[in-house]
Amino acid sequence: MNSEPGHVKDFPFQRAADGLVTRREYLKLLALTSFGLFLGNLGVAAAALFRREKPEPRIMVASVRDVPEGRSLNFDYPTADDPAILVHLPGGRFVAYSQKCTHLACAVYLDRKTGRLHCPCHDGFFDVETGQVLAGPPPRPLPGIELSVESGDIYALREKKA
């Protein structure tokens, strides 16, 4: 009868043939890893250098009367692939942010009960007046969008620089 356990037969392991990693080989591996990480960092730097500036179109978002105080409206800015949210703050001021949560890009919405922007995916909360993170896992504030109100119409002008 064969006393070898099943897994040994299925996955034979030749200890003698399995090469040992010497300290020197390990050192070489570490040096290579260090080189790889340096290249990675260089790659990110190059990506940042050659990153195309996003367009900054001036678009009409809505009429002031379309968004009552305490309400919000979704729109796209600067391109059709960038969801954004416009909020009419109590007191009359308008603010707008990218709607993509800075954690994992779920869409935030205005929680009218708490008056905060809420990301339902992992319960992230943002201050509706500033876009700053109030609670939850988002690592950065919501990117803001500059607005101007001209003769009753609200225009998105550009993304606010961080």
Binding site: R23, K28, L30, S34, L37, V44, A45, R140
Partner: protein, 73 residues
């Protein structure tokens, strides 16, 4: 034995150096890993101002790591 680590021809001496090199290189790799995560974070946040400095720090770390690796044991 007394003084055995003072003699560069002793295997113990060389082993100690190789081990020290491993620890130092691990430290360098750890620092570079940290630098890379910060760089990616900055890129995603659109704060590209510090990225060149971070890449330079990674390059310096790599050169230090290379020096550590090439030191004779």
């Amino acid at each position: 034995m007394k003084g055995e680590l003072d003699d560069p021809n002793q295997p113990e001496y060389r082993t100690a150096i190789v081990q020290a090199k491993i620890v130092l290189l691990l430290l360098v790799v750890g620092i570079q890993l940290f630098l890379l995560t910060v760089t990616v974070d900055r890129l995603l946040a659109g704060e590209t101002g510090e990225i060149a400095g971070l890449a330079l720090a990674s390059a310096i770390s790599f050169v230090i790591g290379l020096g550590i690796w090439r030191v004779r044991a």
